[in-house]
């Protein structure tokens, strides 16, 4: 039998790890897209919503932000089992993480909208734009620029948070790595390899964010 080196083991584990990367990427993409859309709605309700609705969203945001994600995931996961609701761990995880991220995104969107000077909305009113037109053409384009840095942060946090789903058995990159380690006992090498992969993924998101920020840099007061 050939000598067991890190590289031969890596070669043996390539499909498991690639699959893990794919699952991690998929989870992250679903969570970020869903929480961005829901967070936009949440943020709009917080700023412009009917009072009771805004209070409800505020309560949701504050509760979600005060509880660790892992607790939310486990609560949600065991709760589903308790009520015999059978959905795959993958989707249970997406829902839990998206629910958590939505709270953060709502708060980010609220802050960004409120940071647009009141005069912008007044000027838009004065030329006769309606509420949705003011949002679409005046407020949201300016808010986008302010949303971007915290949005990128949250996206990176969510990629990192997908690792928590390994605890409920979603075979994402971390669990795939651990399963590999369980076979070959190369703890350091494979954890380092996984770290590197997460780093590449997150660093790419950060760079993309910085690039977008530069695209919006012409918006100044």
């Amino acid at each position: 039998m050939a000598e067991r080196t890190f590289w031969t083991e890596l070669w043996n584990a390539k499909w498991a790890l690639l699959n893990g990367i794919a699952i991690t990427t998929e989870l992250s993409a679903y969570v970020v897209v869903a929480s961005t859309i829901l967070g936009l709605l949440g943020g709009l309700v917080l700023v412009y919503g009917w009072r009771p609705a805004a209070l409800l969203v505020r309560l949701y945001v504050d509760v979600m932000r005060g509880i660790p994600v892992l607790v939310l995931i486990l609560f949600w996961y065991y709760g589903l089992a308790l009520f015999k609701i059978n959905i795959p761990a993958f989707w249970a995880g997406v829902i839990a993480l998206a629910g958590f991220a939505t709270a953060h995104m709502s708060e980010i969107v609220r802050g960004a909208i409120q940071s647009v000077p009141a005069g912008q909305s007044e000027a838009a009113k004065a030329i006769g734009l309606r509420f949705w037109q003011r949002l679409r053409y005046v407020i949201l384009p300016q808010a986008t620029r302010r949303v971007l840095p915290p949005w990128v942060n949250t996206a990176v946090e969510m990629v990192k948070a997908t690792t928590l789903l390994s605890i409920i058995g979603v075979v994402e990159l971390l669990l795939a790595t651990q399963q590999t380690i369980a076979r070959n006992y190369m703890v350091i090498q494979f954890y380092l390899a996984a770290t590197l992969l997460y780093f590449v993924l997150n660093f790419a998101i950060s760079r993309l964010g910085a690039l977008l920020e530069r695209r919006f840099a012409y918006m100044r007061y």
Binding site: I67, P68, G79, K160, V187, I188, N202
Partner: protein
């Protein structure tokens, strides 16, 4: 089918264990914040020191930590160090080490921003009254930076406290681990997790409230 009968007896019976678990979590967070602040201050001064290689080394540390999942770091330190022949740490110490390194990277950025935002007049005034460089740091720069960064420090403490839940993954008996045990042993799913959630929520807001009082006491007039 969706009917569920609450039975809180289990929680009351386990109450001392639960509170102990909560206090352990708070202790883990505070210890990590303290060590993290020391790491952070050293790194922040290292980054403004104009030594290229030092700046680069610290930047790498910060970016590495910030882009790596905490859970992965926890496993890496807990399972990796013994394999490298370092067996000095039990699981609690190992977790504190990890969370401190994690906090250090975030605090480094907090302090760096704090240093950058100290008005230059303060330093000049300190020079003018004849303070020596280390005295300027000790009596002017650090106290001002501490006050400026206080809100960020309290935010970090709250997120570190929530991050202590990950210690459950290496069987540190903190709140999440305890809730999971109750869940597994008694099947009182709702009671266990509602209790844990409520305690986390209450503690997070209590920390925020206490630190806001501290902030008001030490806030800089600007």
């Amino acid at each position: 089918m969706l009917a569920y009968n609450f039975n809180w007896d289990v929680i009351w019976r386990q109450w001392p264990t639960i509170i102990e678990a909560l206090l352990l979590g708070i202790g883990l967070a505070v210890a990590s914040l303290a060590i993290g602040c020391i790491i952070g201050i050293l790194c922040a001064f290292g980054r403004v020191s104009r030594h290229k290689w030092l700046d680069w080394a610290i930047w790498s540390y910060v970016e590495f930590i910030r882009n790596t999942p905490l859970l992965l770091l926890i496993f890496f330190v807990y399972f990796g160090l013994p394999q490298m022949g370092i067996r000095a740490f039990d699981k609690i110490e190992s977790f504190i080490l990890t969370l401190s390194l994690y906090a250090g990277a975030y605090m480094c950025e907090v302090f760096r921003a704090g240093l950058a935002s100290i008005p230059n007049q303060y330093v000049e005034a300190a020079k003018a009254i004849g303070l020596r460089p280390w005295q300027r740091q000790l009596y002017v720069v650090l106290p001002v930076m501490f006050r400026i960064t206080l809100p960020s420090i309290s935010n970090t403490l709250i997120s570190l406290f929530k991050d202590t839940s990950l210690a459950a993954a290496i069987a540190v008996p903190e709140l999440t681990f305890t809730a999971r045990q109750i869940n597994a042993n008694t099947f009182r799913v709702m009671e266990a997790w509602l209790t844990a959630s409520a305690l986390y929520l209450a503690t997070s807001y209590a920390i925020a409230w206490v630190l806001r009082l501290v902030e008001r006491r030490y806030s800089v007039i600007r």
